[in-house]
């Protein structure tokens, strides 16, 4: 491979795959690509715990599976608890080298699973919890979740009355738990995503990774645009890429050359089609304020 004249050197991406084709994610699904890349960063031995969500069905219908690592389907609200138990079981059997990863949707994280997650974080369990965030309950037909952004259409927040509450700031909730590692990532920046999973794997204690994950049917976007849209989220500071260690050291890992207005991101998606120019201005202010608040903490040296 040759990428001398490219921004990213793809030679650095690990070649090993830990899942296969034949999975049943929709065409252009950001969640399936996120898993593919995350596993490249994690490597083996790794065990996944997945509650009810798209990812519960993506590996295929029983008795098929696309996974080449152990993959446990579990109940919707239990991810935080199941990973804690599974890790304990592995440790008990002398298999402490197994990296236990919970992998849940935004519904399973922001809403129904928050209690189990918070408990696991508070106990500083030695696990990784990943929220792949497609910003609604996609598997059951695009219902609103706590992760759905302000102004978005979902099947329960129709265009006439789109979501009137802002997206819950789950990252701040996790930061308040003062756990060893928190990161945001997206498949549009695979090098960054893989590096964060590698780093998380090398650490102990509770680690939380929040992945923004485009969903063509749920976001009403063309299938080929998933990467472009996730990239726009980063470039417009809607989804800044950063990591936090011990809730003390904040580091922005991808700094846009030029910050894009939120307009380009919003206009690229059918779920925001009804927004007026004024709505977009409100949106822009919201995004700028949130980013400024975050930015204050970037690169602040721990004392």
């Amino acid at each position: 491979m040759y990428s001398l004249n490219q921004r990213f050197d793809n030679m650095e991406i690990p070649e090993d795959e830990h899942m296969t084709a034949g999975h049943v994610a929709c065409a252009g699904c950001g969640a399936s690509l996120s898993m593919r890349l995350a596993l490249k960063g994690l490597g083996k031995p790794t065990a996944l715990v997945v509650p009810a969500c798209c990812w519960g069905i993506i590996p295929g219908a029983w008795p098929q599976t696309a996974m080449e690592v152990p993959f446990f389907n579990t109940a919707f609200m239990t991810t935080g608890a199941v990973i804690s138990g599974l890790k304990a079981a592995y440790r008990r059997r002398g298999m402490d080298d197994v990296c236990v990863v919970g992998w849940a949707g935004d519904g399973g994280t922001y809403d129904i699973g928050i209690q189990a997650l918070s408990g696991a974080a508070e106990r500083n369990e030695d696990v990784i919890y990943v929220c792949y965030d497609n910003e609604a309950y996609m598997n059951t037909g695009v219902q609103r979740s706590g992760g759905t952004p302000l102004g978005a259409w979902t099947s329960t927040t129709p265009a006439k009355a789109p979501k009137s509450e802002p997206k819950k700031d789950m990252d701040e909730i996790m930061i308040a738990h003062r756990i060893p590692y928190i990161a945001t990532a997206t498949a549009a920046y695979p090098h960054d995503l893989i590096a964060k999973f590698k780093k998380a794997r090398s650490m102990r204690g509770m680690r939380y990774i929040h992945i923004l994950s485009a969903c063509p049917p749920g976001w009403k976007t063309p299938e080929n645009m998933s990467i472009e849209i996730m990239r726009l989220a980063v470039l417009s500071n809607i989804f800044p890429l950063y990591e936090v260690e011990n809730s003390e050291v904040f580091r922005q890992t991808v700094i846009p050359d030029e910050v894009e207005p939120v307009n380009n991101y919003l206009r690229s998606q059918g779920r925001f089609k009804h927004l007026t120019q004024e709505d977009i201005q409100v949106y822009q202010r919201e995004v700028t304020t949130r980013f400024e608040r975050l930015k204050e903490r970037f690169d602040r040296i721990a004392v």
Partner: protein, 556 residues
Amino acid sequence: MKYTDRQVKTPLCCISTTSSLVNKTGSWRFASPVFIHRASPCNEQCPAGEDIAGYMYLAAQGRFEDAWRLIMKENPFPAVMGRVCYHSCETRCNRAEHDDAVSINMVERFIGDYGLAHSIEIELTRPEIDKRVAIVGAGPAGLTAAYYLRLMGYGVTVFDSNELPGGLMRYGIPPYRLPKEILDGEISRLSNMGIDFNMGVKVGEGLAWKKINSGFDAVFAAIGAYQEADLEIKGMDKRGVVNALGFLREVNPGKYPSTGKKVTVIGGGNSAIDCARVSRRLGADVTLVYRRSQSEMPAHTEEVEMAREEGVEFLFLAGPGEIYGQEDVSGIRLVKMSLGTVDNSGRRRPEPTGETFDLDCQTVILAIGESLKIEDLPSSLICDGNLVKVDDFGRTNKARFFAGGDIINIPRTVTHAIGSGRRAAAAIDGFLKGVERDKDGLNHTSELADYNSLNSFYFDHRSRTKAHIVLADKRVSSFKEVVSSPSEEEAVYEAGRCFNCGSCTECGNCYIFCPDFSIMKDPDGYGYIVDLDYCKGCGICVQECPRGAMKMEFME
């Protein structure tokens, strides 16, 4: 069914035992990604049709010999090209929309020099063909046709009236732009391939066209344009009035004619600029007189600027009225011009105002254009004005007779001459094999990799490398080259700026971004392939390919 039976059939916990690979998700697809080669705009622009995207890719990796061989497929004079080509390719470079065009010509020059420095030879691999082609005129057009025909296995004999081959590359372009060693180096490669050179033979005078026609299986004529335009003013017979080509020809083989202290050059083209710059090097004060204004000058801006830096004075909106003096020129009377209505060249026509003024000088160089001497060619050829009428492949109205270079209707540049020579070689080959040859392998595919077909997010910003130009006062003190070659580091850097528009570089984006594990390295060679068993047709790979080397094909 009893409870115990059920217990046997349904496990307590469901464990998947089959790979999802049995599930061929390719059946979901309604459009397929395909890998394609699109023509880069620079390639489309290059009069010789060089695969710029391709050789930049190789040069960026330091694979200079491979890069050199790739250029040689379209152009047998890379080191000459890297110096004298007007590089119009750069005007269409996609990178110009990003930051600044790639300095294509600079990289080409490095690669050309590399070929010379490492004495890379071209191997003749095709079986000999028992047919001979006559090439009349050893300028760039003739030499190029000779080269490609010889590579194909034909016997090739070159006839030229000059002492040495090269045409205007030798007897026109001055050595400060094209050193003779460089030209000799590239031409000697051709003579080493077994091409016969018959120098000092003027076809039509010493040797009849008829003889050539009957002695060879095909003829390629590229005798250049040497008929000076007439200037009907008083004093043309004075000693010290010379024409551009005659003047440059005298200078070029290393002879330095004396011009006297003051030289006036009439004309606004590249020849005029070269005459002025040569005269500066001979120690004269030079005034270049052009009848229109600077913006209408056909000469290239870069050349004009260099001449100005070298101390050439420019006088615009003035034309020659009369040359005066005893036997020798002692001055020229000039007529002031003003610009009138637009003529058919699209420029405003200069009109004499009647006002005159005088300029002292000992030499007047007329550089007002040359055309083909029709009488030098067989009379049966159909011409269009002063040019031989040919199709896109140099075929004239006479079977077996082909023409190219400055005598056909293409821009007068070395590069166009080379392109015409190569197309004619393809047509001659087709003719001799009895097949129609309408493709010349110029890399022109139907689709163009324009800026919109790229994903420029993947390219960061990098500034263009500046050419190394010798300071003006040092330049005029000799005929040494004024632009020096780039370093290897610079060439690699500059080649690395190229986006390689339309050509896959195996960057791996398509592979990295596929959610369905459906892009894989081609096990049989270069690039990637699509696994249509599983590809769902999302098109992310096509969207994220930085260089437009993929596209979606929709099914019926």
